[in-house]
Amino acid sequence: MALSTPSPAHEATDIANNTTLSWADSVASDYYKVFFGTNSAEVTAKSVNVYRGNVTPKAYDPRLDLTYGAKYYWLITAVKAGSGDVDSDVWEFTIVEEAPALPDAKKYKKKICSAANNKFFYDNDDSPPKQVELSGLTLDTSKAITMFELDQKVYIANDDILKVVDFVNTKLTLNDEMTVPPRRGQAITQANSGATMIVDYVAKGALTVIYGRTTSGTFTTNEADTLSGDTMSPTTRWSAAVALPTTPHHYTWGVYADVTGEDEFGAMPPRATIGDRWRGRACLTGNSIDPHQWYLSRQMNPYDMMYGEDDEQAAVAGTDAKAGKVGDIVTASIPYSDDYKLYGSIGDLWVLRGDPAAGGNLDCLIEGIGIISQSAWCWDDAGNLYILDLKGMYKITRGLAAIEPMTSDKIPNFTKDLALNPETQRIVLSFDPAKQGIVISVTTIETGANVNYFYDLQSEGFSPETYPVQDAVICSHYYDADDPEQRRLLFGSYDGHMRILDPASKNDDTGSMASPATEVIDSYVLLGPVMIGGNHNWMGRMNSLTVVTAGGKAGGTIPDSDDIAYAVYVGDDAETVIEKADADTSIFGGVIPAPGRARRIRRKARGVFMAVRVGSVATYVVTGTLNPDATGNYLYAGTYNGKPYYRREDGAYFIWWCSSTSPDYWIISTAAGVIGGPIAYWYRESPEIGNYAAAGTATGTATVAAPTEGKTWGMERVLAEIEPAGRKK
């Protein structure tokens, strides 16, 4: 017997950590004893510690993942009855070194922060995250406020309240005041624990607190663990309290503590309502005491406001720079890459080109066009800027190449219709990359009344929108979250919630979690007016109408539209048709059952001009203990007596306006125009929603309410069949 040909080969290296062992034998032994381990002496001595058992085949599977980089030894003893035992040599091999782990692509996380009710909120680490209040931070949300990110912190400009919410630093509260603080960006070390941090902030006049990024170890609160480093003095100070950034720290945004005893870092502006970052600087403006002024901190040091120092990274303000102040009251501050920064005022637009600490200039970009308020602007993702001025909306093309009016050729009274007044309204422009459009929101602060438009970048069209008061827009932010599900345009709502415009929502959420509520969206569009008579002196006749809604036949792979309400208006001229549409005095109307191509509507309409209104189905729900039973869903059915009327789904009852009584009433009865006598009906004065009293032979109080079930719709096209109908007299 002779054992040979080990596998892995003797002294082989870079062997996989799941290898099996095998060998050759010159004869057929009865079985083999296996000794295997990392201890050479024990294997050589055939210690029981490394004895792995007996095997019959000439192979052995360690059945475990061997240690990366380790050297293993093994010995086989061949056993054959009558021949004595034969040992192999002690063989060895080395497992491959562990491959370096794949790089973790994500080493950061994003959080949404919000301000409401004088409080600050931030995402916690739940999934999905929740907005939790940051205890102890008091803002004044009755005043103008902006928040911006810089260096893993949120900086807040809230008039005379300037705050920092710090998500990254460890806070060391010292046992006593320092005489000299460490400089910003320098390391301090704690004795014994060996913990170190890079100092980020020591507030001027508050020499007992150090904020810094822990770079190694864990800071302790032992008196013997003194702190030292850089200019810190004395070095007998120790941290009486240590607070990790598991809950964000917050503190007043001030300048850094002086190290030399001289005034090194200047002073913060006394007030600011507009803040942002640009060229690595914290930028402030909107100081009501000095409304033309702007302030930029030192680059990457928002705690250095020492303006006019002789270096290109120094802090700089309008007063202290060659650029000078803005020539009008600043209403908006708009950073764009490192190239330029725009300052808007009510009447003009100014641009800061280049760094003002290094010879940059502030020029008036255009006179007579400004930005009405601090949120009345937005960028699109092609680098174009959109601004709202008292005269209309403008697009400033990428690179400030051109200024184009957007509304004057479409809606000349755009701003007049919006009744713009920045003193009483919150005016917000919000670009939605997903929808490739801009939501223009004007909300009256006192009441929540709102006027809004959606501007579609592709069609360059404006579509007006109205929102329930609860959903009125006060602020917005596009959250470019890592999670695609969370990536969306967020709106701060009038009722204190944060909301989105959700394609999956068929109605508007208006409630809270405690009191859920929704409101049906009233949507419509007028198709036309179009001339159907050939010219102004010829009548035309529409013989039929076909409405094709989105979704094909019910079911299938394409999402289905809900039903669509329609109404047809005709008139001798186009404006009469529009006026009839405004008054909803249609010649006929009803509900198109969706989806797909509905049955052709074979009704006729005659006029010179025609328009068709399509939109959401106005449905009313009638409830009560009624005799006869008039309860059920009532659908829009057109116009009667100059007002919309509604038909129960089975056509047995109607809600309609009776203009022949005194006073006039809304009526529920079996047919529009039929009341009085021995029939059952219910009545009430305007509006049509509410309780109706029984009359005639009816009993019970009928209640008419708007439904809460949302509907949505999409259309393919509307097809009318028309023909000449004679000369107009």
Binding site: I112, E149, G461, D480, W713, I722
Partner: protein, 81 residues
């Protein structure tokens, strides 16, 4: 047999800049809560705007007896050490 008249959705939005008699193609003088792209498939064919939904369940502006608006939103990116 009459001739067909196709009424398209006014993709170019509201327009009240011209005489109603010469309403520009693909525009409308009256519309509300509609968008060029429907919410069903986001096709350019017209439909109702998306509805409002809560982004967070938390009610930041809750005050006893009243609500106050969310008046500022921002995001912050934090390095995970």
């Amino acid at each position: 047999m009459g001739r067909p008249l196709i009424l398209q959705y006014p993709m170019m939005g509201k327009n009240v800049n011209f005489a109603a008699t010469t309403q520009p193609a693909f525009t409308s003088p009256r519309m509300n809560n509609v968008r060029p792209r429907d919410v069903l498939e986001y096709r350019a064919r017209g439909g109702q705007r998306p509805g409002w939904a809560k982004a967070y369940n938390q009610h930041m502006g809750y005050v006893e007896g009243a609500n106050v608006p969310v008046c500022a939103i921002c995001q912050v990116t934090i390095v995970e050490l």
